[in-house]
């Protein structure tokens, strides 16, 4: 966090944008849970810029920073047969794990 000269990948999303969690391969380490992959949600907050876990786990401190986002999902979209319409779940991702959902 102290090395301000590190590059930052331009943030692609804003609060309210619809996004889908990508299902990238797990290369040794990730913090993107399996249960959210391929599911669409809405950006609830832009949090901070930092290394991604996949680089940080290997002390790749010189790797570019990415914007992190809190994404809100409908529980009904995460789990088949979830019985309560209004319930939600939020969790956090760096930019590369998300892709835009059109429409």
């Amino acid at each position: 966090m102290e090395s301000n000269d590190a590059k930052t990948v331009p943030a692609r999303f804003n609060v309210g944008d619809r996004v889908r969690v990508r299902d990238l391969p797990n290369l040794f380490y990730t913090r993107t849970q399996m249960y959210v992959r391929g599911v669409s949600g809405t950006i609830a907050a832009r949090t901070y810029e930092d290394l991604i876990p996949e680089d940080e786990a290997w002390n790749r401190d010189e790797a570019p920073r990415e914007q992190y986002y809190i994404v809100r999902f409908r529980q009904k979209d995460l789990w088949e047969d979830y019985p309560f319409d209004n319930d939600t779940l939020q969790t956090e991702f760096p930019d590369r794990w998300l892709e835009p959902v059109s429409g």
């Binding site: 849970q33 249960y35 949090t47 992190y68 809100r72 529980q75 209004n86 319930d87 779940l89 991702f93």
Partner: protein, 247 residues
Amino acid sequence: MQHSHEHDHGDHQHPAAPMVDEITDFEVLEIAVRELAIEKGLFTAEEHRRFTEWAEQIGPAAGSRLVAKAWTDPAFKARLLDDAVAACREIGVDWTEPTGSGTPSDYMNLRVLEDTPTLHHVVVCTLCSCYPRPLLGHSPYWYRSPNYRRRIVRWPRAVLTEFGLNLPSEVEVRVEDSNQKCRFMVLPVRPAGTENWTEEELAEIVTRDCMIGVALPGPSRKSDDIRPVHKASRPVPGDHQRAEAGK
């Protein structure tokens, strides 16, 4: 393995083994690093013991004060929701040095989740046990258990019911999976019946579980309440009876 006592008495084929699990890799690592640090002179065994004793006493008191202040001071609540790490400094919690030992918190992105009459938050870390320790101390055992971590995201209402918390279906239950570098604490709704209470009195009803989101604070449950007495169904003669006779 089932053994019949009648047959195994005096049989030494199965020596007694301690009823403990194997030590984990992380425990081995902790011991190795600690012993190396002591040999290198970074700290003594006595200093390590003192720090451990202190660390294990950290409680959720700071979080309780934060909630009570937010309930009584709308301007503070606005600052808390805007920048929680900065607001923590106002109650004497510095996330850059929460332990007093010069070590910063692992990450310094605290977000306070405000409950409303129609929105209830509950916090989990499905990947490990991320927890706002500068405010709530060490996480409870169940918070780190795979049972809680797996099920609260999938069946949140059923798990909350197991904690004795039944929420009506009109209330949106929002699970916050703390999987990255944000840490979360719930700001519950101030319960009715606490209208004229002081900040100090309010802090007493904000327990740890209320700030994780598996319980709601209530005016009838204070930390210094007299505990309910559950009488034994087959009391020892003279036990409860004697205590009652003495009243």
